[in-house]
Every structure is written in structure tokens, then in C-alpha cells.
């Protein structure tokens, strides 16, 4: 059985952890009423997670160019392989699109990002009250699409592991 490289595995699971964390934080922070120091802290941490996911996404794409993923295991119907490829491509698109939409949202609201509280990130657009609700909606719907795809992705991996009993999930695990 051919596995993914250890680097690819680390990037995959780290990204997954950060995305789940950022997603939960996004839901929690937007449900806090009013205005409190804790709420502002969560917003900042959420944005830092988003920037980190974006950076990891770049690393993953670069790594993948030079270390092609292992081929699909044998005996899997072609339609499942095609579906897997499509979902993976969509997920790659989303791990860029979601943080970018969030970044544009916060800039349109006039709140730039200072990564980890120390590194001011480029302000690539001026505050724009008209675009603010647009970016907010885009960020939200891209997030929901990603959540749905993550469930499908994880669900399929578990199906392959526990029902089909093949090597699909094992390829992404170092043990």
C-alpha cells in the first residue's frame, strides 16, 4: 500500500484541526450578543486561525506539486474515485476561498488583521459598507458548503475503512 508522505499527512490533519476549531469559534462568536472583551478576543483568534489555514493551504498545494498523492487503491469503482477527486478539488478550492472571503469581509468592515497581535497584514481594500454584507454572506455560505463537504469527505473515509475495509483511510494515517 502506498501512503501519503508524512508531510502531506501532517498538513492534512493540522489543517483539519484548525478548520474545525475556526468553524466552531465562528459559530460561537457570532452568537454572543452585544459587545464584550471575550467576543472581540474570539473574533481575533478566529481570524488568526483563518490566516494560518490559508498559509497551510499554500504549503499543501506546493507540496502536492512535488509529491503526487498515491494512486487510488485497486478494486474501487471508478465513480467513487471520480467523486473523491472532485470533492478533494472542491475542498482545496474552499481552504483558499473561505479564508479569503473572511479576510475581505473584515477589511470591508474597516477592521484589518494583525496576525497574532503582532504582524499587521496587508490592507488590500478600503472599508466598504456596501460590500460588507456581501462578503459576510459569501463567507458564511462558503463555510456551510465546506462543512457539508467535510462531512461527506470524512464520512466516505470512514465508510471505506469500516465498511469496505480497504486502505483509503490508512493511506492518510502514519500508523
Amino acid at each position: 500500500m502506498q501512503r501519503y508522505t508524512k508531510t502531506a499527512m501532517s498538513l492534512h490533519w493540522l489543517t483539519a484541526l484548525l478548520i474545525v476549531g475556526a468553524f466552531i469559534m465562528g459559530l460561537v462568536m457570532t452568537s454572543i450578543p452585544g459587545f464584550s472583551p471575550a467576543k472581540l478576543r474570539y473574533f481575533s483568534w478566529h481570524k488568526w486561525l483563518g490566516v494560518t489555514v490559508f498559509a497551510l493551504a499554500v504549503l499543501r498545494v506546493v507540496w502536492r506539486q512535488f509529491h503526487r498523492p498515491p494512486p487510488h487503491p485497486a478494486h474501487i469503482p471508478a465513480w467513487q474515485n471520480r467523486t473523491a477527486d472532485a470533492v478533494h478539488m472542491l475542498l482545496y478550492f474552499l481552504i483558499f476561498a473561505v479564508p479569503v472571503s473572511g479576510y475581505l469581509y473584515t477589511l470591508s468592515a474597516g477592521v484589518p488583521v494583525v496576525y497574532l497581535g503582532v504582524w499587521p497584514m496587508p490592507v488590500i481594500m478600503a472599508p466598504d459598507p456596501e460590500l460588507k454584507p456581501v462578503f459576510r454572506a459569501v463567507h458564511y455560505w462558503l463555510d456551510m458548503a465546506m462543512a457539508a463537504l467535510v462531512f461527506a469527505h470524512a464520512g466516505a473515509a470512514l465508510k471505506h475503512h469500516f465498511i469496505d475495509r480497504d486502505t483509503v483511510l490508512k493511506r492518510m494515517l502514519p500508523f
Binding site: 452585544g34 459587545f35 472583551p37 472581540l40 474597516g110 488583521v113 494583525v114
Partner: protein, 188 residues
């Protein structure tokens, strides 16, 4: 006949001269649409600049004698626009501006002195949320389309005026240093 004409001419000339001098030292009318007052601060080290949507400025400026000038600026504490209606409402509450009890923040100048070409040194009293503190800041004066343009930046410490009480006293959340920027266009 000649004498009354002379008297008339002299009177007219004297009146004209008085009016000219008076016009130079008049109270200016602020063009609020072209002016702005904003607060620049850091929130978790993120620089934010927000405008006060409602304010008025009464400036009595004499370019020839700046020492005789006076300025008063009144700012509606409930008019700070943080870009979100929920936040805008929060900042009027007791912990922040307490706009219900203190609807206005006021600056009244006590001295204005020339400080070089097109520059003024302004000293006065700033009253916010019932607390008054002396402040001084530089102001630049330029003219555009027949009006005066005053630009200044007044650094304050928000905790001096109890802006941001309780949990909001923490300066890592909202820094103590706040810069009030004025851009006032005023003419006759």
C-alpha cells in the same frame, strides 16, 4: 452741500473699513459636510479609525491675530460610527460614553498661538463624560476655495475620562491612547 458730501464719503469709507476689519476677525461658519472628527485607536493592536457623525465647531479666527482666536467643538457622543449598528449602540452605554447622561464631548480653547507658517499651538479644556482635562495640540491652517481648513490631532488617554469601564479598562483589548483627529473647513 460740499461738507455733507465729504461727511457722507468719510462715513461710508469709515464704515467700509470697519466692516472689512470686522470681517477678518469674524466667527467662521463651519462646513460640516466637508469637515470630519474621528477617533483613531487600537483594538487588540489592530488600528481602527471611526468617525463621529454629528459635531459642531464654532471657530472665531483672525489670521492676522491668531492669539485672539477662539474655538469650541461639540461632539455628539452617540454619533461614533463603528460600522455596525449593534456596536454603535453599545458604545453609548454607561461603560463607554454614557451618552444618555453626557450627550456631548466639548473642547473649548483657552489659548491659540501662532507656531510658524500655517501652524497654530492650541491649548484648551476637553470635557468628556463629566471629566475635564487640559489638552494641547498642534493645528495646521491652510486655505482652500476661500475657506480655512484646520487640521489637528489631539492625543488623549481614554481612561482619563473613564471611557471603557469595568472589563473594558483592559488596555490590551482597547488601547488607552486614542487620537482625536479634526479636519474642519470653515469660512465666512
Amino acid at each position: 452741500m460740499t461738507m455733507s458730501r465729504t461727511v457722507l464719503r468719510t462715513t461710508l469709507l469709515a464704515t467700509a473699513m470697519t466692516l472689512t476689519f470686522a470681517a477678518q476677525a469674524a466667527v467662521l461658519k463651519t462646513d460640516v459636510a466637508k469637515s470630519s472628527v474621528s477617533a483613531t485607536f487600537k483594538q487588540m493592536n489592530v488600528p481602527i479609525e471611526d468617525k463621529f457623525k454629528k459635531f459642531s465647531a464654532v471657530i472665531d479666527y483672525d489670521a492676522a491675530k491668531p492669539d485672539a482666536s477662539k474655538a469650541t467643538v461639540d461632539i455628539d457622543t452617540a454619533s461614533l460610527d463603528l460600522g455596525d449598528p449593534e456596536y454603535n449602540k453599545e458604545v453609548t452605554k454607561k461603560e463607554w460614553f454614557n451618552s444618555a447622561q453626557f450627550p456631548k464631548a466639548t473642547f473649548v480653547s483657552t489659548s491659540i498661538k501662532a507656531a510658524g507658517a500655517g501652524k497654530l499651538a492650541v491649548t484648551g479644556n476637553l470635557t468628556i463624560k463629566g471629566k475635564t482635562a487640559p489638552v494641547s495640540f498642534p493645528l495646521t491652517v491652510t486655505s482652500a476655495s476661500g475657506k480655512f481648513v484646520f487640521d489637528g490631532a489631539l492625543p488623549i488617554k481614554r481612561l482619563t475620562y473613564n471611557i471603557g469601564e469595568g472589563a473594558w479598562k483592559a488596555t490590551d483589548m482597547v488601547a488607552d491612547d486614542v487620537l482625536i483627529k479634526f479636519h474642519v473647513v470653515a469660512g465666512q
